[in-house]
Amino acid sequence: MYQINFRVKEEEKAILEKIAKIEKISLAELSKRLILKELNELRIKIAFDLMGKGKIGKKIAWKMSGLSYYEFLKKINDLKITEKVSEEVMEKEIAAMNQLDYKELLKSSFEEIDIPLL
């Protein structure tokens, strides 16, 4: 655990104390909650901004966002921002599809399978 210290004006402290009293929590606990709430929103915003600009991939963005993967995928839909993958990468992926025979990868116990499976 780490400690963070910061200064606030007297009137800001008074407001924080009032709210802390209403919420029945300590001033330190209230300050921590407010910072983390702000941080949670900020890290989602930064993660999606960077992913949308193609500066980071999906996994880094997901981890940066602090969301579960399910929530992250839902957020992609909400914000309509997804990962940028170049044409070249996609074409190489499609080319790989055409060169790979599934029989090379089947487990020996599944040499004969009834297809389709799904």
């Binding site: 980071i56 996994k59 995928l73 997804t82 940028k84 790989a96 599809m97 599934y102 990868l105 799904l118």
Partner: protein
């Protein structure tokens, strides 16, 4: 040859199962697939151990010492997290194909001359080989399109590929 599967890929498979009730584990269990100790830790961290059929996969030995050597030789690999670093290293060492949901990792794999697929391409590959019905793929593509999980041009490209399947 085997598939090495990253955490995001499994989490996406889990999302498909949750939202569409399409269980891609049925397909995956027929193949040789594996994970490293570091990947296993990540599966556990994200509570995937009850979803991922671990007993169907192979744990690929990859020591921390090997990882350290790999990092020293290819320092840029540190851009990825530890679990993904082990995947890249294993794909290079063993003839493995990476299944990932991360475009960054896919690009890295391709730059090493190795094969990798994201979930839509993997499913499309399975359709082409007759392992998945075309109708199942249509449902999957609709899901990805409606949820904006991939760019429009990618969805369009995959649809074009699907149309060529008889």
């Amino acid at each position: 040859m085997l598939f090495l599967i990253d955490t995001c890929f499994w989490l996406h498979v889990q999302t498909i199962y949750r939202d569409l009730k399409i269980d891609l584990r049925i397909l995956l269990k027929h193949f040789r697939w594996g994970y490293t100790e570091q990947i296993l830790q990540e599966y556990k961290h994200y509570h995937l151990q009850n979803f991922v059929p671990l007993s169907d996969g192979y744990q690929i030995p990859f020591s921390n010492q090997e990882l350290k050597k790999f990092q020293e030789k290819y320092s840029f690999i540190r851009e990825f997290d530890i679990s993904d670093q082990t995947l890249v290293a294993c794909a290079k060492r063993d003839s493995a194909i990476i299944l990932t949901d991360d475009g960054g990792l896919l690009m890295e794999i391709q730059s090493w001359g190795k094969l990798g697929f994201r979930l839509p391409a993997f499913c499309l590959w399975a359709v082409k080989k007759g392992l998945i019905r075309k109708n199942t793929m249509i449902r999957l593509l609709r899901f990805w399109e409606n949820n904006h999980l991939f760019e429009k041009r990618e969805i369009k490209r995959w649809k074009n590929e699907l149309q060529q399947v008889r």
